[in-house]
C-alpha cells in the first residue's frame, strides 16, 4: 500500500527528519489560508499515488496566497494518469542548492533491506539506474543487526556529500531506517533530499510503501488508505478478501490461485491479441469457492463496462468440482449476468461439476475441459460481443 507524499513526510517528521512545514488542502480556500499562514512563495503539490505529477502540471509555484488559491483551483480535480486529485499539499518553497536521492527498500535477491543514495536526486531512481548506474550507492543492512553508522559514512562518501552535512545526513538516514522498520515499509524514499541555499538538509518529497502483509499489525497505517482515489471495485474486492486488479481488456477472469490467475490472463491474450482482445482483470478468489465469494467476484468483474465475457478457471484441488459448480450456479442466480460465461473446471470431481453446470441449462454459460479450450472460447465469445 502506497502512502501519499503528505502522509509519508508526516511519518518521516516523526523520526526526526526535517520536512517542509506545509499542510494539506482539499479546497482552494484552504490552500489560500495555508499559503497566507506560511507567507512567501509556496508550492502546491497534487497528492496522487502516481509518478510524473510535475510533468502533468500537478505541481505549481505560487508567490502569494491569491496565487496559491488559483493554482489549487487548477490542480484540485485534475486527472493525472487516471487519478483524480482530491488533495493538495501546500509547502513553503525551498531554495535548492543540491538534490540528493535517499531510499531504503527490500532487496529480494539479497534478502536484506538496502540503503540507496545518489547525488542525482530529483529524478526517479530507475531513471538514474538506466542512465548512470554508478551514481547509485547501495549499502545492504543486516536485518538482525540494523544499520551501522559507519555504513552511513560509506554512503556519504559515495555520493560526495559535503563533510559539513555528514552529521545531519546521518541523523536523517538513521531516522529513515527506523521509520522503514517500525512501519514495515517496503519502500521509504526521500527524493529529493535537498541541501538548501543556506546549507540545511530537508526532505522535499517523500514516498512510502507499506508491506501489505504487515498492514494487519499497523492499523494506523491501514487507516491511511486513500479509498477515495482507488477504483471502487478494488475497495470492494479487498473487503471481500479477493485479490483483484483491473486491467484494460474484455475478458473478465475468475481463477483460484495467483499463478493460475496470471496464466489465465496470459492465455486470453495469447489467443485474443490478434483480435485486440485481452484480460479485463486479475482476480484470485483464493482457496475454496463458496457461492458468496463467487458472487462478490462476479459483481466486481461485471462492474467493469469493458467486460464482454467472463472466464472461470478453477483447478479443484482441495475444493471439489461439484461444489464449485453449485457455487457458480448460486452466484449466477444472484447476479444474473448477461455476458457469456465460459467455465473450465479441472481437478477433483471436475466431471461431476461440469455435468451439474450443463444440466442447469444456463443459456449464456458454456463449459470447457482444458485451459486452452476455455481461453479460445472466451476469446470467441468476446469477439462476438464486440
Amino acid at each position: 500500500m502506497n502512502l501519499h507524499e503528505y502522509q509519508s513526510k508526516s511519518r518521516f517528521a516523526g523520526y526526526g527528519i526535517p520536512v517542509p512545514q506545509g499542510k494539506v488542502a482539499t479546497t482552494p480556500d484552504e490552500a489560500y489560508a495555508i499559503a497566507q499562514e506560511l507567507g512567501g512563495t509556496v508550492v502546491i503539490k497534487s497528492q496522487v499515488l502516481v509518478g510524473g505529477r510535475g510533468k502533468a502540471g500537478g505541481v505549481k509555484l505560487a508567490k502569494s496566497a491569491d496565487e496559491a488559491r488559483a493554482r489549487a483551483e487548477e490542480i484540485l480535480g485534475m486527472s493525472i494518469k487516471g487519478h483524480i486529485v482530491h488533495k493538495v499539499l501546500v509547502d513553503p518553497a525551498s531554495s535548492i542548492a543540491h538534490e540528493i536521492y535517499l531510499g531504503i527498500t527490500n532487496d529480494r535477491a539479497a534478502a536484506q533491506p538496502v540503503l540507496m543514495a545518489s547525488s542525482e536526486g530529483g529524478v526517479e531512481i530507475e531513471e538514474v539506474n538506466r542512465t548512470n548506474p554508478k551514481a547509485i550507492i547501495r549499502e545492504h543492512i543486516d536485518p538482525l543487526m540494523g544499520l551501522f553508522s559507519y555504513q552511513i559514512v560509506k554512503v556519504a562518501l559515495g555520493i560526495d556529500l559535503p563533510r559539513d552535512q555528514w552529521r545531519a545526513f546521518s541523523k536523517i538516514v538513521q531516522g529513515l531506517y527506523q521509520c522503514f522498520v517500525e512501519n514495515d515499509a517496503a519502500l521509504a524514499e526521500i527524493n529529493p533530499l535537498v541541501i538548501t541555499a543556506d546549507g540545511k538538509l530537508i526532505a522535499l518529497d517523500g514516498k512510502m510503501s507499506i508491506d501489505d502483509s504487515a498492514l494487519a499489525r499497523h492499523p494506523d497505517l491501514a487507516a491511511m488508505r486513500d479509498t477515495e482515489s482507488e477504483p471502487e471495485a478494488e475497495t470492494q474486492a479487498r473487503e471481500a478478501g479477493i485479490s483483484y486488479v483491473k486491467l484494460n481488456g474484455q475478458i473478465g477472469c475468475m481463477v483460484n490461485g495467483a499463478g493460475l490467475a496470471m496464466t489465465t490472463m496470459d492465455m486470453t491474450k495469447l489467443y485474443g491479441e490478434e483480435y485486440g482482445i485481452g484480460p479485463a482483470n486479475f482476480l484470485d478468489i483464493g482457496g475454496g469457492a463458496k457461492a458468496e465469494q463467487v458472487s462478490a467476484a462476479l459483481r466486481i468483474i461485471l462492474s467493469d463496462p469493458n467486460v464482454k465475457a467472463v472466464l472461470f478457471n478453477i483447478f479443484g484441488g482441495i475444493t471439489r468440482g461439484d461444489e464449485v459448480a453449485r457455487g457458480i450456479i448460486e452466484a449466477y442466480d444472484e447476479v444474473k449476468p448477461s455476458v457469456p460465461m465460459i467455465i473450465r473446471l479441472q481437478g477433483t470431481n471436475a466431471e461431476e461439476g461440469r455435468a451439474i453446470l450443463d444440466s442447469a441449462d444456463i443459456p449464456n454459460l458454456r463449459t470447457a475441459a482444458t485451459l486452452t479450450e476455455a481461453a479460445q472460447k472466451a476469446v470467441e465469445a468476446a469477439k462476438g460481443a464486440m
Binding site: 501489505d212 483447478f315 484441488g317 481437478g347
Partner: protein
C-alpha cells in the same frame, strides 16, 4: 528416490490442531505420508487422529525423531515457528503460511541460512513426492511416480502442469512449490541443483512468474550446470508494470522482472519455454 523426502522421512505438523493444519494433516495421512505427530503449544499430551501432540518441536523431535516439519500456523506466529523448527534441528521445514511480513521473513531467512536446516516457502503449496509422501496441500491424486521433477512458485498452476504431465503418462519424482513471496527459503536454483543430482529425475519443469530475478538466476544456473532437459512456463506476460498480481512477489518494478526478460534468459540457456502451460508435457517428450 525423490528429492528432499524419502520413505524414512518423519513428518510433524506445527499447528496440527488449527483449521488449516488439521485439514491438511488428514489429507497427508490419507495419502500415506509418515506423519509422526504434531505441535500445538498448550495441547501437549493430547492426540490428533492417533498422532501425538507436543507442546514444542523439541519435545516432538525427542519423542518421534521427526526430521521434517510442515508449518501451518497463521502469519503472526509463523516466523517464530520457523525459528523453533531451526533451533530444534529440523532438517527440512516447509512453511505454507501466507502474509508473513517481509521484514520478519528476512530475519527468519538469515537465521535459517546460518543453520543446517532447509526451508521451503513460505506461502507455498509444499512438496509432493508421488508414492512416497505429501507434505503440503497439493492434491495427491494429480501426481504419479515418474521421472519428471517439477518446481514452481505457484499453487494451482503447479497442479495444472502436474496434472497435465500425469494425464500425458509422465510421472514425477517430486513436485516442489517454492512459494510466491519475495523472500523464500529455497530458490529455483537450490531445487534445480537437487534435481540435477537426483539419479531418478530425468527431466525438469520449472514454473515461474513475473517479479524478482529468480528465473534469471535459474537460467544462468541451467546454462552452466544442468545436463537434464528443462521446460518452463512463466506466468504474467500480460500483467502491467508496478502492480502486484496476487503473490507478494509477483510485481514488475522499474522494468525489472518481466516475463519477457525471463523467457529470453531461459531460452538463451537452452530451456524450452511454453506459451501455454498445457504444452509442457509435449516439450518434455
Amino acid at each position: 528416490m525423490a528429492i528432499l523426502l524419502n520413505e524414512k522421512s518423519k513428518i510433524i505438523v506445527q499447528g496440527i490442531t488449527g483449521r488449516e493444519g488439521s485439514f491438511h494433516t488428514r489429507k497427508m495421512i490419507e495419502y500415506g505420508t509418515n506423519v509422526v505427530g504434531g505441535v500445538t503449544p498448550g495441547k501437549g499430551g493430547e492426540w490428533f487422529d492417533g498422532k501425538p501432540i507436543f507442546d514444542t518441536v523439541e519435545k516432538a523431535v525427542e519423542a518421534t525423531g521427526a526430521n521434517v516439519s510442515l508449518i501451518a500456523v497463521p502469519a503472526p506466529f509463523a516466523p517464530d515457528a520457523i525459528f523453533e523448527a531451526v533451533n530444534a534441528g529440523i532438517d527440512l521445514i516447509v512453511c505454507l503460511t501466507e502474509f508473513i511480513p517481509v521484514q520478519e521473513m528476512m530475519r527468519a531467512y538469515r537465521h535459517v541460512k546460518n543453520s543446517s536446516s532447509r526451508l521451503i516457502g513460505p506461502n507455498c503449496p509444499g512438496l509432493l513426492a508421488p508414492g512416497i509422501a505429501n507434505v503440503g496441500i497439493m492434491p495427491g491424486y494429480i501426481a504419479k511416480p515418474g521421472n519428471v521433477g517439477v518446481v514452481s512458485k505457484s499453487g494451482t498452476l503447479t497442479y495444472e502442469v502436474v496434472f497435465a504431465l500425469t494425464e500425458a503418462g509422465m510421472g514425477q519424482t517430486t513436485c516442489v512449490g517454492i512459494g510466491g513471496d519475495p523472500i523464500i527459503g529455497s530458490s529455483f536454483v537450490d531445487i534445480l541443483q537437487l534435481f540435477e543430482d537426483d539419479p531418478q529425475t530425468e527431466k525438469v519443469a520449472i514454473l515461474g512468474e513475473i517479479g524478482g530475478r529468480a528465473e534469471i538466476d535459474a537460467a544462468e544456473f541451467i546454462k552452466a550446470n544442468m545436463t537434464k532437459p528443462v521446460a518452463a512456463f512463466i506466468a504474467g506476460a500480460s500483467a502491467p508494470e508496478g502492480t502486484r498480481m496476487g503473490h507478494a512477489g509477483a510485481i514488475v518494478e522499474g522494468g525489472q522482472g518481466t516475463a519477457a526478460e525471463k523467457i529470453a534468459a531461459l531460452r538463451e540457456a537452452g530451456v524450452r519455454v511454453a506459451d501455454n502451460p498445457e504444452q509442457i508435457p509435449q516439450l518434455l517428450k
